[in-house]
Subunit: 282 residues, 6 copies
């Protein structure tokens, strides 16, 4: 008799030892200001991934051809942000140290900070490609330096100029847009027209890709904390991932799915497909 | 005093005898694996159709100019798949025998099998145009040969090669895509670029059109069992139906609306408009 | 200590005396036939506007640079339509009399009638630009002359031919389309291809803009009384508003958000952004 | 083959001529101030009644033993309250004139007014039993005399003192409670302890029973415009109906189900069972 | 670092070999007529069980003191009822053969049939205690002998008279109530007043307990296929389980949670607590 | 013309200077482990309070007879728990210093800690009455000492034995129940049978009342982070508040409404009524 008791993302059936890619969840949403709930993303994605095929007709590849381990979720409390960030950082360090590639599922966007820090320790010339509706470049937010709304600013603090490339940005304060325009980050407002050119520039460097799923239009992805109409389509996202496949990606994350805000379940299905495609190009 | 107690799709007010087109429901979803509920489609569509106009500005025609009968739903149990399929088959045979055209509302996609079988008995050179996100070409699914995921495979069993034309397909196993590519069906992946050419090829033959509404992008049609992002738009669907209008369509179905998964009601509104347009070209 | 007890649309912090623009709600939905609930729009928009930035990257302007007053909602009963319309008319007259521009948030589309009447008293050569999925040109609806489905017909009653320009229309009776085609209104079916030309024609006249948000596709705006698939995108709407910015707009309204029908909250976010952009071009 | 196309409350299969009881809907909610939607009640009840048995183990009777006709819904517009009330009044007059008993499904509570007026024309010594969370005795509400919040006041206008008996009342203004206490109506606050005594007093008179379903606790009946915690249980309601069965009931109504506010469907199931029991004692 | 990747009911951490109790899911709902979805119960219960404590203040016991294994779900297709029933039967036989006690989570009530058959093979003098809103004693339902609405009739087919004790029953056809009253089953309508007496009678026999959770009032348990107002309270259920703890229970099941119909999540929380208590008395 | 732009709890219309009672929100839910969202409680309660009467038939008093100020919400970030607690503490100190009584609306239960600390500074012999489903007496939770699950333990840290009286408790670890039974707190499991006796004991002392609304049964109050079936009824709560009215209450809070988890809106209505009654006895 066949029993069903797996609790893994579809096709991520390898042991940790054998795996080349480590899929894991970082269910932290403690600084979410508007609508919390991204903490539930990784858990829901695993379950709903069973409505998905392992084969991608976009990339014409199958997850079953790759060595991927689902490590589960890091167990995080919510009251103490700094402890949570430290635990994520340590986990990613371990993954990188064993020459595996991490694919982290948020949680809110702040979880990206300790992950990039960990990857950056190994790859000093790291480039960050950032897909998002929001610039996330504020100096402070509600009185705090560490927040989902300041995260790329904090990444800039240690990477510096000409390392961060932002796409799809369509919301922020006037200051954020100005600060970026002063040359601190490269910003492609609204879409991703410059992506080919940027890929060409960075193709010999180690790249970290952070995808805040709210870069997608909320018509196809309403299940997120701060939906911003005017985003890219799912087909755009498939095109983007195909383009990224020629890069040397050393780590990636996919954040800000808040599944409870989309009762249709479509947002979770979208996130699952984006994850499948990212796993296939890592 | 005006009383309101109709329970028919809007504009389908003809008696069975006078009608040229028979609209009916086949509320079976017994093999749905992921999210059942398409059994409720026909019933919800009738009620919500009163938010619709009988006039189509797309086709510049009005339902009131046609002779259409709403026959209600076939009463089907759920535990016994084979009984359900047989009853659908018999009903469609009766419709076809009296020289009327059937427009069936599913239910899951498996209901298409007995309907095409019935139409095929009369039209031996039948062509099937299949709009869907899924290839539905598996040999087996969860151990069963008869399932919503195998239905076009079962249709092929009696139609054979060069009879089935598939559009919008964007999900399936590697085996399904391969099997189709061996020439068993014509498959237009993702979109419908080849539709004009195919229409030209089949325009002298009797055609059955089966529309699995999940061919639409879930941004506009989330209310379905297995939503697959990356689909065609509603405007695409209007264009497709206009193109189909020159064909000799002898039967059609529209399946896989599961209205409860879309609390906004938009999916039902979409299905109702697709039905109105199909009725206008039959 | 910072306390939070505002109940205003974001950035509308001016006093009535100093303001040049008056934002207010007209929460009436008493003739809604299919799905009521637009009465809740203004109240929900104010609260959710705190998830929005005051800065628009589309127009590169900031609400904080303008003098806008949020006057709250007109308190309206529901059983007596004529009293409600009279109160809206009187309020808009006061606004116009003090040389301020009104931006009214519906409510159903019928609230547009008394607002345009008030603006027309001052601007006899008023032009109306009407964005909507529905023609709203019926003579009667369910036995009544005054209804959300007849409102542009009633506006025509006092404005006459060549004053009303309709965009995005994709639903109506055959009679409405015919009557418009006889030259009573200009109608751009489905989209807004003629907008540039019309703007050129009317750019020296006072213009009232009425936006029924169901002109948007229900994929991005499901929260409305009568969703009609096949509409324009949010990006289209941003383009339209940018084009309108060169006109002499003397009043505007944004109607038919029914927030309860969209549990994801995206419709309210869309409405809030459309309002921000309209405030920035008034 | 068995087809299913009925659209009647379960067991209400008699023709109008043969029937002794006439079930009908009055889908008007035009004065609802807080949450509209009771207009959808009758339509939803008919569909969901197919989840119900015709047999009541409470009364040990079966609907199939009675002659009941489902007349559908009166078609009503929403903008003109007075027209709607007049149409309800005329319909009930016809029913009463042909010696049948009306069971009306609201709609909001205001629909009770024209129904009682019609019944009262025939039965001058009519007694009204009123089950409700709200006193509904205001003189005015939001500036209007005719409203769901004033309806029992308006009934008192023509019935006068000692005719109206109210049960379950737990919300109202201080004035309403005072006015009732002056002897204008009999009021049993919170529960129905005095019901046996009242039944004894009125058992020889013609009685009209009006049940505002919000008399039930919102734990079992959340689907209503103004839910008031602290109500009676469903079992209490079954007991009440059994007690009422010895009265000479000449008409009844059941109002204020707003099905969309209860996504679980339980409120509609509750309303359907209350209706079944009322039909069995009429 | 602590990782979280379990997918077990809380406290069911024993291996199969060591366990005395086997918890498992039978996610079949193929004959559900009104609202399917109980197939999702076991999966949701496992996840939400992490909001629960392992300690019961009702029984003053802790799950951690017991040897319980969570075997996952039996993998079942939906189109073929007979195959599904056979697989359940075989699994329960294995459990019973190894001298462990099964606690099965449905699925619809029909899954009880093969489970009782398996247990009965070992315990020929088996007694069944049945808690339910529905009698489930029909001869046929929608033309089928095997259905959720006939299941206790099918159990009677092999157990015969004086073996089945039913509590909480408040819905059924007139025939079902009559047939039971002829002595075929013991039936406690509405409540469980006779439970003490019955427990006394059967306390020396092997007992199977089947709990259709719709025996609970839908105020506390709306998430089920056919909610029936008028049920027992959660506190009643706790009392019942405490009473049952003195019996020799050799198997049990808990069925008919359909979690998607209760967006509040309370129904799943209720089911989880009932399961915890049942595990503690097995 | 009457405009509506208030954003206050109904009847709380006094200025801060004149008021005797200060109503305010503390929208913090940063340590919520299972389902966040109580941050939205105060905001939703204010809006929905307009469906409420100011008059209580339970207490026969009217809010308009009292001097109450609605101070709005304290603006709090989420990433830094300690800053949030400090701001609440300071606000309550100010209120108490000016001889007004605070009624705080949570937020999660942890907000009670800084409020009681502030009140305790003034009233050294303070007694705490605690109504809750959960004991909240843990030493640590997910590695943190300060959490919604430890809050009464932290209150005990400075109040010590014989100061905390707990009612309605029905969930916790075995350790929590044991620790309380050692005499550290008085605990009335499940209900409130000992309340009269306790009131008699503490009636000469200053009392702080903290109501975690999950003490109510989730049938009437599903909108909370951790619903626990088996709670007290709304009528019980009304009885409790009436009993408390003879005490010298110097501060109170009402916490853990998470309105988004109850789409019916009933939980917010319940919370609003509990608040009205508490305001009337302060």
């Amino acid at each position: 008799m066949e029993m069903f008791n797996q609790y893994q993302f579809i096709g991520c059936t390898e042991t940790l030892e054998e795996a080349k890619i480590v899929f894991f969840g970082a269910p932290y949403d403690g600084t979410s200001s508007f609508r919390p709930g991204s903490r539930f993303a990784a858990s829901r994605i695993r379950i709903d991934s069973y409505g998905l095929e392992t084969y991608s007709p976009y990339l014409e590849k199958d997850l079953e051809q790759y060595l991927i381990h689902d490590a589960g979720d890091i167990e995080l409390g919510f009251g103490n942000r700094d402890v949570a960030l430290k635990e994520i950082n340590e986990f990613v360090k371990e993954v990188v140290a064993s020459n595996k590639k991490p694919l982290m599922i948020g949680g809110e966007h702040l979880v990206t900070l300790p992950a990039i820090q960990a990857v950056h320790e190994k790859y000093q010339d790291l480039i960050v490609l950032h897909f998002d509706a929001h610039a996330d470049l504020r100096a402070h937010y509600l009185g705090e330096k560490l927040s989902h709304a300041t995260v790329m600013g904090r990444v800039w603090d240690f990477l510096g100029d000409e390392r961060i490339y932002q796409f799809g940005i369509r919301s922020g304060t006037q200051e954020e847009f100005k600060w970026s325009a002063e040359g601190h980050t490269f910003m492609n407002k609204f879409g991703y027209e410059s992506l080919d050119e940027i890929i060409d520039q960075v193709k010999n460097k180690p790249v970290y890709v952070t995808i805040d799923l709210d870069v997608l239009d909320p018509s196809i992805f309403p299940g997120t904390g701060t939906p911003e109409p005017g985003g890219i389509s799912f087909t755009d996202m498939m095109r983007i991932i195909k383009k990224l496949s020629i890069l040397n990606i050393v780590g990636a994350d996919i954040v800000e799915l808040a599944p409870d805000y989309d009762p249709t379940g479509v947002s979770t299905a979208v996130a699952s497909k984006v994850i499948r495609e990212m796993l296939l190009i890592l």
